[in-house]
């Protein structure tokens, strides 16, 4: 999955341009947000391994994966949505409503084999509602999904009240957190990886993904190019709802508890990871690999600090700072580069074009 930003490998000059395309391609790759996020991830993993006792163990690695699994899942469709210039803030509430419905259905005696597909369908329907409000009614997704965030959470309380359904069979709840044979890696890592490949290929290697970048950069030009903008957006919101429901099912089984307030506020972690991963909130820019790096980075830092007995409040402060720094740093770097370029006299008169 090559990042879909920056000069492509096809950047070879049409008219021979002075310079070494190979090296400059490397340099621009080094400059991308994805690279800095992955670099920060490597540094924090290394630092945590050296400084925090118990971090670099397989056991802890397994817990870390379970911790971030839901955020990682939801971040996949969220990446595509944000690249299109939209946002879906209702994901955590969709997760909560799915969890509540799952608990209620189990409580009235429906078998889990039936409940799970029903829940996924419910998530897709909730996504379609968002999508229709955005595309057909033409409302801004920020407003729509803030509304449905409250609406879906409210419905979750209607379904389950403040009860918790916690008597799911051990074979399912234990299964959700079970490890791959012979390792400490939970099987859900495979699910995340598999979906990440699917979303990555869709975003970076298909005509559909290409259209998403165009929509995010200039929706009008995309429309004039024959791109079905409403259909694309509707599809993305549907996928987002379905994946949030999948995360809801997993969350419920992972913690063995269906509650209406499950994953309250999780949408902010998802959006934070997506932005940290280098996706532009204005649309048109970003790559999935960066978002995965962002999810892992946030998860690693939180996990390491928890192991180091840092309080939950301090944890939030660190996470928030990380996000702010991640936004400020590339901005400042770009400005510094700009200033350096302005200060340095143009070395050597450029050859006049023939």
């Amino acid at each position: 999955m090559a990042p879909d930003i920056g000069p492509s490998a096809a950047g070879a000059a049409v008219e021979g341009r002075a310079g070494r395309p190979g090296r400059s391609a490397w340099r621009s790759l080094l400059r991308t947000r994805e690279t800095s996020v992955l670099g920060a991830l490597a540094v924090s993993v290394l630092a945590a391994s050296l400084l925090v006792e118990g971090f670099a163990t397989g056991r802890n690695g397994g817990f870390l994966v379970l911790d971030i699994a839901c955020v990682a899942l939801i971040a996949l469709p969220m990446t595509l949505i944000v690249i299109t210039g939209e946002i879906d803030l209702s994901v955590a509430s969709t997760l909560g409503l799915t969890s509540a419905v799952m608990g209620q259905l189990w409580w009235v005696g429906v078998p889990l084999e039936t409940i799970v597909p029903l829940c996924l369908l419910l998530g897709a329907v909730l996504g379609v509602v968002n999508g229709l409000l955005v595309t057909v009614a033409g409302l801004p997704s920020l407003a729509v999904t803030i509304g449905t965030m409250a609406l879906y959470r409210g419905l979750a309380y209607v379904v389950l009240g403040d009860r918790a359904v916690a008597d799911f069979p051990m074979s399912w709840t234990g299964g959700a957190t079970s490890r791959l044979p012979g390792t400490d890696l939970p099987w859900v890592a495979l699910l995340v990886a598999g979906l990440a490949v699917v979303f990555g290929v869709v975003l970076h290697a298909t005509p559909f993904g290409r259209a998403l970048y165009a929509i995010g950069s200039n929706e009008e030009a995309a429309r004039f190019s024959g791109i079905g903008v409403p259909a694309a957006k509707l599809g993305l919101f549907t996928a987002s709802g379905a994946v949030a429901a999948l995360a809801g099912v997993f969350w419920t089984l992972q913690y063995g508890s269906a509650r209406a307030d499950n994953a309250f506020g999780l949408e902010l972690s998802v959006v934070a990871a997506v932005l940290l991963g280098g996706v532009s909130i204005f649309g048109g820019r970003g790559a999935l690999v960066g978002v995965l790096g962002g999810v892992l980075l946030l998860g690693t830092v939180r996990n390491a600090l928890q192991l180091a007995d840092v309080s939950a409040d301090a944890l939030n402060i660190v996470t928030g700072l990380l996000l702010v720094v991640s936004v400020v740093l590339p901005n400042t770097a770009a400005r510094l580069r700009e200033r350096r370029r302005a200060a340095a006299p143009p070395q050597g008169p450029p050859a006049p074009p023939p």
Partner: protein, 505 residues
């Protein structure tokens, strides 16, 4: 107007100014005097460095070498505000007003007259704005919002703002590109009165008739360098064109004769309430049909509805005999219709994407296999069209925003020609592009028609319409008021119908 040097130093001069962006030298050792009481024309192909020069004067760019002088003394503009303080005002092609604020508020933004209580004195502000408009001889209500003003009126608001700042140097960057004939005349009257009031005016235009009608001296630039500055009386259009391109330009409108084939595009009774009504016309293979008319006559709206970007209320569009689904650009594309839109930057291109991504945006599915894009195929397809249209770009991976206007237009053309259309609709295909590229575009359209394509051309430039079209449809206020075959189309007959004075065809 003889070029006797005035005794006072010019209000603004550039001395040996150079500016580079990366490896591209946008300006090389350019010197220019803008004298008080003179309208100075700046001509050059796109990419000749005109925009960079304007931005240097406006304080947006700082020169790498050389200097800007105000009244003969060196001045350093680090910000547009510095230039403004020195009395420089720039009117851009598309003014940037605050649409929801009133006209008066736009004029006095940031320096509103205040009452004693430090509140904005609306009455004084409106009176001052009204006085400015009276001096300009135009009628715009100071209290109306800027939204909904025509581009011409928006420019006048900008000019009023410049006057309120006591600007002594007024730069107009292609101000007439989007104006109709009457509006151009009014703008010229304003420019002349400013000149007679002692202002120095720099006028940039691709239209030579305007340059020769309005200006006192003409400076020609090519490839970032100053070529010549002469009084307009010593010049001819041919001489200016030769200096701009550095060679003789062959005929500007090389329309080839083409065999007229069967009907390809049939539009019948197309209406959209309040925009256009009962539009009926047919375009045959091998034919160029021009849609002429004043700006705002509804021409772009009609072609957008035909392509399906806009909706329409009634009527039908048929391509090669088959009805086209309304409101579906993808369906129009599948039927072989292509639309090169009016607004290149907003509708034609995704400016921050690369040349390649833009050029292949319409062919994403055709260039993929098993649903996956193939880089090789994309690159090959782009390169093929880049070569055919002689595209000048740093690299196919460069953002399309780094290209000059003419080359951007070539990317839009490549993007649509690559779809192999049967009907090519071009909306203002040569707006804001240089003479050389213009001739290339005209030759291309002519070749395409000769090859059997049906071409619909919306154009506000009469010479282009008369030179290129086999048939001219003239629109006035949303209706087709005349259909003229090539033999009957003259400036008079077209203008007559365009202003609504002609009998219906």
């Amino acid at each position: 107007m003889d070029a006797a040097p005035p005794p006072a130093p010019p209000p603004l001069s550039l001395v040996g100014v150079a500016k580079s962006f990366g490896t591209v030298a946008a300006l090389r050792d350019v010197s220019l005097d803008l004298r008080a009481g003179e309208i100075h024309a700046l001509c050059g192909e796109n990419g000749a460095g005109k925009s960079t020069l304007v931005k240097t004067i406006a304080g947006v760019h700082r020169p790498d070498a050389g200097r800007v002088e105000v009244d003969g003394r060196p001045a350093v503009f680090t910000r547009p505000a510095d230039a403004q303080r020195a009395g420089v005002a720039v009117i851009y092609q598309e003014p940037t007003l605050f649409p929801d604020l009133s006209v008066a508020e736009n004029i006095f933004m940031g320096r509103q007259p205040l009452t004693r209580g430090r509140r904005i004195d609306r009455a004084a502000m409106h009176a001052a704005a009204a006085a400015l408009f009276a001096r300009l001889g135009v009628r715009i209500a100071p209290d109306r919002p800027a939204r909904g003003l025509s581009i011409a009126d928006q420019q006048l608001v900008e000019i009023a703002k410049a006057m309120s700042l006591d600007a002594r140097v007024l730069v107009m960057d292609e101000p007439t590109a989007a104006l109709s004939g009457v509006e151009v005349e009014r703008l010229f009257a304003v420019a002349r009165s400013l000149r007679d009031g002692g202002a120095a005016v720099l006028f940039i235009s691709h239209r030579f008739d305007e340059v020769f009608a309005l200006c006192d001296r003409v400076t020609v630039m090519r490839d970032g360098a100053h070529v010549s500055t002469d009084p307009v009386a010593d010049l001819t259009v041919d001489a200016v064109v030769r200096r701009m391109v550095g060679r003789d330009v062959a005929a500007l409108f090389p329309k080839q004769d083409a065999e007229r084939g069967g009907a390809v595009l049939e539009v019948a009774g197309l209406s959209r309430s309040g925009v256009f009504s009962d539009i009926t016309f047919t375009v045959h293979a091998g034919e160029i049909v021009a849609l002429a008319g004043l700006v705002g006559a509804g021409r772009s709206e009609v072609v957008r509805a035909v392509f399906g970007v806009d909706r329409y209320d009634s009527g039908s569009v048929r391509v090669a005999g088959r009805a086209l689904r309304a409101g579906r650009p993808a369906a129009a594309m599948a039927a072989g219709v292509a639309l090169v839109p009016e607004d290149r930057r907003q509708q034609g291109l995704v400016m921050e994407l690369s040349v390649e991504r833009n050029a292949t945006l319409t062919r994403r599915w055709a260039l993929s296999r098993f649903g996956l894009l193939r880089r090789r195929a994309e690159e090959r397809a782009t390169r093929e069209w880049a070569d055919r249209l002689r595209l000048k770009a740093g690299g196919l991976g460069d953002a399309v925003s780094t290209l000059s206007g003419g080359n951007q237009q070539k990317v839009v053309l490549a993007k649509w020609l690559a779809t192999g259309p049967r009907v090519l609709i071009v909306d203002e295909p040569t707006r804001g592009i240089d003479v050389g590229t213009k001739a290339e575009v005209h030759r291309l359209l002519s070749e395409l028609a000769a090859g059997g394509m049906a071409v619909v051309m919306v154009s506000s430039e009469l010479p282009e319409v008369l030179g290129m079209a086999d048939r001219v449809l003239v629109m006035h206020e949303g209706r087709i008021t005349a259909e003229l075959p090539r033999s009957e189309a003259t400036e008079e007959t077209v203008m007559y119908a365009a202003t609504g004075q002609g009998a219906a065809a």
